[in-house]
Amino acid sequence: MTSMEKDAVTLAPARPGMPPDLIVQVPQGIPAKEMSYQEAIREALREEMLRDERVFLIGEDIGKYGGSFGVTRTLFDQFGPERVRDTPISENSIVGAGTGAALAGMRPVMEIMLADFSGLAMDQICTQAAKLRFMTGGQCKVPWVLRMPQGGGAGKSIAAQHSQSLEMWFANIPGLKVVLPSTPYDAKGLLKAAIRDDNPVVFLEHKLLYSFRGLVPAQEYVLPLGRCDLKRQGKDVTVVASGAMIWHAMQAANILAHEDISVEVVDVRTISPLDEETIGASARKTGRVVLVAEPCRSYGPTGEWGMVVVEQAFDYLKAPIVRVTGRFSPIPFADSIEKGVWPGTDDVVHAIQRVMA
């Protein structure tokens, strides 16, 4: 037994009932802390606010109250009302104020309570912030981050106006970067990168994942934007997924390992710009591809990823590409119907079995 193994942190499952080693991103021997996705985001905010005094937070109820999902808890007490600013219920003014502050040299991190409400601020996000650097010939930049919880899951029962997964709204706008982390490790490293990026970054947090736990290095680290992450290596089939769907993909891979099917999982943790090379390379390696994304199928991420596979790996495909997506439906309130809308682990397992047949 080496000293490294003695020092190893005992792994807890990300959620009760999950295998503890489902996603491990910190190698043994590296000092690490176990924390939730929500805590990882808070730690990223705290570290960046300490590092750079231009970084400030702005949003509804993010101060004393600590945010609707508790992400900014304790930050008001630590940094005060100047740097953790509460606003009225007006998404348009939050992003407008943030965009103005960013133009003036600050690095605002805005919170909109739910991505579903971003429609109210769409002009500021897509027509102003995304375009200003281009419209001014590079004389201005808008280095802001817009944090928004999105998505849902069976049993949440928050209905059609509070549950959507909207990454494609923003991924279709040149000038915006769109990030969708799936783990505490990714959430922290990517948020720090987003804050340091000179372009507007839409940072989407999955509501279901806030309570997911995982190891995060004790030391500071920053992850690159615009790259996919290989969450699991395999040789028979590639599963391309993002956000909460990564967990279904990883569970499906575990289940199918018993059937001697070796699954590779590519996490599209930056939705835009899309890392086409990693998707293409994995598809060429395995020749079989399953795409898993939470937004509804029509004009959703899987259509884009699938086309990347066709462009980069057509001659290597051994089976038609199969996709697993949310239904083209407003999210129902009733728990029993809501279950039918979200893709789950079983759907991913069946899709992999289909491409392997």
């Binding site: 020749g287 057509f314 001659d315 290597y316 495909l317 051994k318 089976a319």
Partner: protein, 411 residues
């Protein structure tokens, strides 16, 4: 009354053509002689003209780009705007192999009938890539998967079986050499098939003669300005030779013949084909009624053919009806060569370059003369050595004798 649009038989061997693209759309107004379909025949790319002015209607199901369509099958109609046209049944698809094989056999029609293939190969892109890498035509592999789907294993065992029958390929399989596989163009493939057929079926022998080109070159110099004025090009030795060959063919009917079905068919018309090498392969456009044409006309036609060869865009007519072939490699510095008879023609003339050669004259003095080697390859079933010799001798005489050459200049 609607008129039918169909692919004509453009060459003797042609049984089908592949549609490259429709140049007019369903419901479009077209004029008579307007090109409406571009097709690839066994020898070239050709345009099909509309038989009349009217509306293109009722394009047949299956008559799509890439489809191999049999000669004579109705593909669409040209009709008046208010005229109804009958709905055509879907076109039977002919596989490329069936078309090629049919082109190369005597009982071509029967072969095509027997080899109409309707099966479409089902295989994943990965399996298709493996087939490509192994140099295998995937359409020839029998699929053993569900619904006849072709698997990687099917392709590999097909390749292995093929490798067993070819000496040397097994070693190639175990230690792969850095090689590149090239697909043949239709023209190259057909040329190969026809040459194999020629060598395997026709007993061939070659006769060689060498002609003193002193006077011919003088005539060429004398005419060069006139020809340049009328054709915009330089009078080539090929043009001169084609004209002389045509006259000789008229006088030596056995050379202007073909061996078909065990008999010799004497052609009343003299249609000299001229072999032209192009990037896509060897092509033999035909100068119709060559003996009736002046040197200027022949020079002009040759010029047009060379232009067309650059893009392999010949009309059906350009390539059909040849009764004899001239192949000149002199411009590539070849002294002399033997050509293979272009079946069913009875002979082919291979022409080398003009080269200054020491020649002993009647008075035993030796002097350099511009000489040209002519080699006649003959199908012995159609012609014997004496007939071949007489034909070659006449060509030589017409190239050398000043009075005969003058006749040429006048014509």
């Amino acid at each position: 009354m609607p008129l039918e649009v169909f692919v004509h038989k453009m060459t003797d061997h042609m049984e089908s053509a592949r549609i490259i693209r429709w140049l007019a759309r369903e419901g479009e107004q077209v004029e008579q002689h307007q090109a409406i379909i571009e097709v690839e025949t066994d020898k070239a790319v050709a345009e099909l003209e509309s038989p009349a002015s009217g509306i293109l209607k009722g394009i047949r199901p299956g008559a799509v780009e890439g489809a191999q369509v049999p000669v004579g099958e109705t593909l669409a109609f040209i009709a008046k705007p208010d005229e109804q046209v009958p709905a055509l049944p879907p076109l039977p698809s002919v596989s490329r192999e069936a078309a090629v094989e049919a082109g190369g056999t005597q009982s071509a029609a029967a072969a095509t009938q027997a080899q109409v293939v309707t099966r479409q190969t089902r295989a994943t892109p990965a399996v298709r890539r493996i087939a490509r890498e192994l140099g295998i035509n995937i359409d020839l592999v029998t699929g053993t998967g569900p619904d006849g789907k072709t698997s990687e294993e099917d392709v590999r065992s097909f390749a292995a079986a093929k490798g067993d029958t070819l000496a040397g390929t097994t070693t190639a399989a175990t230690s792969p050499e850095p090689v590149e596989w090239m697909d043949l163009s239709t023209v190259q493939r057909l040329t190969g098939e026809r040459m194999v057929q020629s060598i395997q079926t026709a007993p061939q022998f070659a006769l060689a003669i060498s002609a003193d080109m002193t006077n011919a070159l003088q005539l060429r110099e004398a005419m060069i300005d006139q020809i340049a004025k009328e054709t915009g090009g330089r009078l080539s030795i090929t043009a001169l030779l084609v004209k002389i060959v045509a006259t000789a063919l008229k006088n030596q009917p056995r050379a202007n013949a073909s061996f078909e079905a065990g008999r010799v068919k004497l052609h009343k018309r003299v249609n000299v084909g001229v072999a032209i090498g192009a990037d896509a392969g060897l092509i033999v456009p035909v100068i119709k009624e060559t003996d009736q044409k002046s040197l200027v006309q022949i020079a002009r036609e040759l010029q047009v053919f060379r232009e067309k060869a650059r893009q392999m865009r010949f009309s059906a007519d350009d390539l059909s009806g040849g009764t004899f072939t001239v192949s000149n490699l002199g411009m590539y510095g070849i002294d002399q060569f033997n050509a293979i008879v272009n079946p069913p023609q009875s002979a082919i003339l291979a022409v080398g370059r003009v080269i200054k050669t020491p020649v002993a004259l009647a008075d035993d003095t030796v002097t350099p003369r511009p000489m040209m080697n002519l080699t006649l390859t003959v199908d012995h079933r159609a012609m014997d050595g004496v007939q071949g010799a007489k034909f070659l001798a006449e060509i030589k005489e017409r190239l050398e004798k000043p009075d005969l050459l003058r006749e040429l200049g006048k014509a």
